[in-house]
Amino acid sequence: MTDTMAFWIVQGLHGLQFSMLLFLLSVGLTVIFGLLHFVNLAHGALYALGAFVSFSAVKLTGSYWAGFLLAPVAVAIAGMLLYLGLIKRMRNAGPMNQVLITFGLIFVFLDIFRIFWGDIALGVEEPALFSGPIEFWGIKYSAYRLFVIGLGIFVLGVLHLILSRTQIGAMIRAGVDNEHMAACLGINVEKVFFIVFCVGCALAGLAGAVAAPILSVYPGMGTEILIPALIVVVIGGLGSLKGAMAGSLLVGFIQTFGAVIAPQIASVLVYVLLAGVLIFRPAGLFPARS
């Protein structure tokens, strides 16, 4: 293996790793979007909550896996409360009110993080199992990042199986396609919504827990990741698993290779892509609903 080839493979892995993180975050966002027609700007804050919970769990138990398991559960519970308290009532309130409510939630979460975890950025250690680099084919790469890539692919596979093979998956697909039709078919739409919302939140929490050892954990982390995640959703198309993955890969690879090849314009490239999609495919690349 030549150095150049190894270099590009490593960069490809970087792109893949970032894409998977974006995927975990945006898949919940996009399915909640597609099914509930609800835009949750606080999705980023839930991701940050996942990271903070994972930080505390790791600190208490000394094990990364405690955070890995606890964060999705805690964030799903937070999502449950949000759904029952606010979101259920705001489902038909129109996009602007939803944007405003969840925008308010961002403020609330920011200060909650500050009160409980302070202003200083925190760190979470990689799990011992995946600590440090491993070498294969003459390439040295972070074991933990490979784990993140694997996890992303695993989650994609599980979600795909659930959507295509199970009863609830069929209900979700029917609901995304046509809510009234689904209700007519005797599907308990409310229940499906609730489950999907909680699962979306759990995935955001998982993304936070997974990101924590790579990045640092601080109150503003959710607000910063929100815009890339929204761009992924718009590019991919609302409500589609395929779209979320395609959007994540596009954004992840454009950012990674943009940073390596053309750092001067890297930051604008994603927006150019977005503008192009909006002009030529206003419903995104793979909209769930035709």
Binding site: D3, Q17, E125, G132, S142, I214
Partner: protein, 390 residues
């Protein structure tokens, strides 16, 4: 606009409320101080450290009663910082302003305090220009300049055997000034810069692509400038990607600041940085300071706490020398010199920047987590005049 220009007063601590006895209650001989720091936002932690250091200095002098403090929150937003500075000067009529963490806020405030002839003691913001081309008789800096910390590191790296270096920094003024100073000195010493990268400031989550690029260039060393959350991400990713085993990491001290190093964990072991303060500096002044700071706040001080302390000390020394009122304090603060927690310290009358030692330390595992092992010291580092004219 309420987010950007929101001028308001934030009482950071209860103690402050006691001291801020209210407008108009200033007796003759008392000095009114405007403490202009971020209490919310990304630098809130720095603001609180500086605040604690500053009040410690006043208390320690036994002259706390001679000062009235008015605190204002910059929210790390230049327009807000400027609005607050105006408020302090025009409404509260303070004698001196102390603080300012971000260079953006300093850039916004500089012309105003210069025009209003109000002395400003800068407690962090390191932009070279503030004591260079945009220097002012009324602006003195007790913290550092970006060049001051990193210029000596160029020679030091060469002397310790590094011949080729790859530089990486956040893409904003501090990053560029840091790297310019380091690179110039390193090249002058005989070294070679084999590559330089400026990563988008505040937006870079994944340094992987840049780190892999740096690693592919096979330099003797990587020299970086990152601070806060970016420093944590950077150091951890550097270790996780396995570059740590191949290429040593050097940088300016913020990379492994005591404030953040615990979050970096074992990844930070072996990283060598240069800074204007190291907590393990074993001199009586530092040991006394550390004990007093821990007694006051319950935690060990960072370089930011020291900067706050020295800002307070400079003010106290100026007032002790008999200065009272804006003009007198401005004149007196340029002449202050003493030995403090970071060793001998004085204000350079030519630029109003601090003259101080730069310490090189390695982050190593200690009994209670990570600690700093001093491995080098460059004495009395002063910046060139750089076009400064009062």
């Amino acid at each position: 606009m309420f987010e950007k220009l929101k001028p308001l007063s934030v009482r950071a601590t209860l103690a402050a409320c006691v001291m801020a006895a209210g407008v108009g209650g200033v007796n003759a001989g008392e000095t009114k101080v405007g403490l202009l720091l971020p209490y919310v936002g990304v630098y809130a932690a720095l603001g609180n450290e500086i605040d604690a250091g500053f009040t410690l200095a006043l208390e320690e002098s036994g002259m706390a009663g001679d000062f009235v403090i008015v605190r204002e929150d910059t929210e790390v937003k230049p327009p807000v910082g400027l609005a607050k500075a105006r408020k302090l000067v025009l409404e509260d009529e303070v004698d001196v302003i102390v603080g300012i963490v971000s260079s953006g806020v300093l850039g916004a405030v500089r012309d105003f305090v210069d025009g209003a002839q109000v002395p400003l003691i800068v407690a962090n913001a390191g932009n070279n220009d503030a004591t260079g081309s945009r220097c002012s008789k009324y602006v003195a800096r007790v913290s550092f300049s970006n060049a001051q910390i990193n210029r000596p590191m160029g020679q030091w790296l060469y002397d310790s055997g590094v011949r080729t270096a790859y530089t990486m920094a956040s893409d904003y003024a501090a990053g560029h000034q840091t790297m310019a100073a380091f690179s110039e000195a390193f090249i002058a010493a005989g070294g070679e810069i084999v590559g330089a990268e400026f990563t988008p400031f505040g937006k870079t989550k994944d340094f992987g692509p840049y780190l892999s690029k740096a690693s592919a260039a096979k330099p003797d060393a990587i020299y970086v400038f990152y601070a806060g959350g970016e420093a944590i991400s950077f150091v951890k990713q550097y270790a996780s990607l396995g570059i740590k085993g191949d290429i040593p990491l050097y940088g300016s001290g913020f990379l492994t600041s005591p404030l953040y190093v615990a979050a970096e964990g074992p990844a930070a072991e072996g990283v060598v940085t240069g800074a204007h303060y190291a907590p393990t500096l074993d001199i009586p002044e530092n040991n006394a300071f550390k004990a007093a700071f821990i007694a006051k706040t319950g935690k060990a001080p960072s370089e930011f706490a020291v900067q706050g302390y020295d800002a307070g000390r400079v003010l106290v020394e100026a007032v002790k020398s008999g200065a009272s009122g804006r003009e007198a304090i401005a004149t007196a603060m340029s002449k202050v010199a003493y030995t403090g927690p970071r060793g001998a310290l004085s204000i350079d009358p030519a630029t109003n920047n601090v003259v101080q030692n730069i310490y090189v330390y390695e982050t190593v595992a200690g009994d209670n987590g990570l600690t700093q092992k001093l491995i080098g010291q460059i004495d009395n580092v002063a910046d060139a005049v750089n076009g400064c004219q009062f």
